[in-house]
């Protein structure tokens, strides 16, 4: 199979001697929605910048859809659209021109670039702002502009470096839907984000990078299944006077009507419900308090840090 991205023993040492990547291996399948997570300074942006040709690698092999970055760099660039972390468009150009120009730089005719720009600006809710100077857009609009610009040449691989940073929750959910649709249409997506809920919702596969090394590279579902303990918040139909004894589960009363229960892997919530029902308590609704990916992320990074000390 030809992978969308293949990275082999990738190393990067910056001029100041900082070793950002210490030989990472990574494969991403075509059509994947892939999360690349890691703490600040772990090497995520360096990896992405190397893929996008914004940073020169020190060692290693990078292939995109089977084409080597070293020997077919311009072909590889044609396959990639990138949404960087920082705003990097010309703030003195109108919104529409930012997208059209980028289309041109990928070889589109002005007519084609204009048509693609119109489609994307409409889809991303920026059509009314097309004549506005891009510096006058709000933060969320600027992020959407960068997504439109990255997609103008219909890339097969879209790289999103914290695309929803500073975007309000409503807009963020809209962007998630848009990105899911793009992915469903066949575009491979690599996402880095600090919103782990975002990665959990969108991504099928995941790699966690820490101190320039990949410490986990797996399927999102498999990873989440390794969560050892989860905490559920239960909203009950009547005040809970005293704490019923729930075998093998740690439960506590938070508010008169609210109960919090810790369950370890393999335990069933049905057991908890049965005990409560025995005491005449019905659960009206519940939520999972634990951000499972966040817990795992912190655990893996801490383990990696301890191992390297």
């Amino acid at each position: 199979m030809t992978f969308a991205v293949e990275i082999f023993r990738l190393k990067k040492t910056y001029a100041g001697g900082v070793e950002a990547l210490k030989g990472i291996d990574l494969t991403i399948e075509p059509g994947d929605f892939f999360a690349l997570l890691g703490p600040n300074g772990a090497g995520k942006s360096t990896t992405i910048s190397i893929l996008c040709s914004l940073v020169n690698k020190s060692e290693g092999v990078v292939k995109v859809f089977g084409h080597d970055l070293d020997t077919e760099r311009n072909w590889v660039k044609m396959q990639i659209g990138v949404v960087p972390q920082e705003f990097n468009f010309n703030q003195f150009e109108p919104v529409e021109e930012v997208v059209i120009n980028q289309g041109g730089f990928y070889g589109l005719t002005r007519q084609k670039a204009r048509a693609r720009s119109a489609l994307l600006l409409k889809q991303l809710g920026l059509w009314d702002k097309r004549k506005t100077m891009s510096r006058q857009l709000s933060g969320g609009m600027k992020r959407r502009l960068m997504i439109a610009r990255a997609l103008v040449h219909e890339p097969r691989l879209l790289i999103l470096d914290e695309p929803t940073a500073g975007v309000d929750i409503e807009l963020r959910r809209g962007m998630w839907q848009f990105l899911s649709d793009i992915n469903a249409a066949g575009t491979t997506i690599i996402l880095t984000t600090h919103y782990l809920e975002e990665a959990e919702q969108l991504c099928r596969n995941i790699a966690i990078i820490n101190e320039g090394r990949i410490i986990k590279h797996t399927n999102m579902r498999d990873l989440l299944n390794t969560v050892a303990q989860e905490t559920f918040v239960l909203y009950c139909n009547r005040p809970i006077g005293s704490m019923p004894i729930i075998p093998a589960a740690d439960a506590r009363i938070i508010e008169p009507f609210v109960l919090e229960v810790d369950l370890v892997q393999g335990q069933s919530l049905s057991d908890v419900f049965e005990v409560l029902r025995g005491h005449g308590i019905e659960v009206l609704r519940m939520k999972n308090k634990t951000n499972r990916l966040e817990e795992l992320f912190l655990k893996l990074v801490n383990q990696s840090n301890e191992a390297s000390q």
Partner: protein
């Protein structure tokens, strides 16, 4: 499914797809014309800062040096002083504006990071360089034309060799556009993009025979002036307009072509290594 391995000895799949190139020649043309249009629109939008000042400056030179001081100078090599000034003033504007266009546009793109739009695109380095050069040449020629228009009101415009006139003007703007690009690549602050124009370009231009013929200098300073490459360019342009020159005409083309080859080579090298652009 994707899996991590640290044990592999070879690239993961070992498979390479059929080699493929980047943009086709037609696509390259679209990319180039888009970049050139962007550059022309950039300096066109701010014409009050880019086109107007050299016109005003040239008018002042004609008034002060041409009309007020010129009659006292008389003729130089059989040409009235005000007419003698015309080629130098036109070419001085071409030099400064070509340089200024590329240095400010390219450094501005670096500073605001929208240079990344080009660096992530499949445009080959030479095409990006060509796009910026074309923008510099466009501004150089636009200002050259505007200054010539101003000169019409003050002096008699003569053309001795029209082809040479266009050729020298275009080659000159290519040379100084390349100079501006190299300056912008190395620049880390806005101060750095004004150092070369202020401390190198302006003195060399003023001492390059814009306002005088080196025949008017003592022999020692005549010899010193021959080390100034801008003298050859201005002399060649003056020959194209007035038919007079301080140096052999072929030397103008030698200097210009040698400068283009050298500066282009340096620019391509800097792009290839990513100096000042990529980490």
């Amino acid at each position: 499914m994707s899996r991590y391995s640290s044990e592999r000895e070879l690239p993961i799949s070992g498979e390479y797809a059929k080699p493929s190139r980047g943009l086709s020649p037609v696509q390259m043309w679209h990319a180039f014309s888009m970049l050139l249009t962007r550059e022309v629109l950039r300096f066109g939008r701010i014409w009050v800062q880019t086109i107007l000042p050299p016109m005003i400056m040239t008018s002042l030179y004609f008034i002060v040096f041409g009309h007020l001081i010129g009659p006292r100078v008389g003729e130089i090599e059989g040409v009235p002083y005000i007419n003698f000034l015309v080629p130098g003033l036109i070419l001085m504007s071409v030099i400064t504006q070509s340089y200024a266009n590329v240095v400010s546009s390219f450094y501005g793109a670096k500073f605001a990071r929208h240079i990344e739009e080009l660096l992530v695109s499949p445009m080959p380095h030479w095409l990006i360089i060509l796009g910026y050069l074309a923008g510099g040449v466009a501004r150089g020629l636009a200002v050259g034309a505007a200054v010539t228009l101003v000169a019409v009101f003050f002096a008699k415009i003569q053309v001795h060799d029209f082809t040479a006139l266009i050729l020298v003007m275009v080659l000159t703007s290519v040379v100084f556009s390349l100079g501006g690009m190299i300056n912008a690549i190395f620049a880390n602050s806005f101060d750095h993009i004004s150092i070369v124009p202020t401390f190198v370009l302006t003195p060399l231009t003023y001492l390059g025979g814009v306002f005088y013929s080196i025949q008017m200098l003592p022999p020692f300073w005549q010899q010193v002036s021959l080390f100034n490459p801008i003298l050859y360019i201005i002399s060649g342009f003056r020959h194209a307009m007035l038919g007079i020159s301080d140096v052999p005409v072929y030397s103008t083309y030698l200097i210009l072509i040698a400068a283009i080859v050298l500066l282009y080579g340096i620019t391509v090298f800097l792009f290839h290594r990513g100096i000042g652009m990529r980490g």
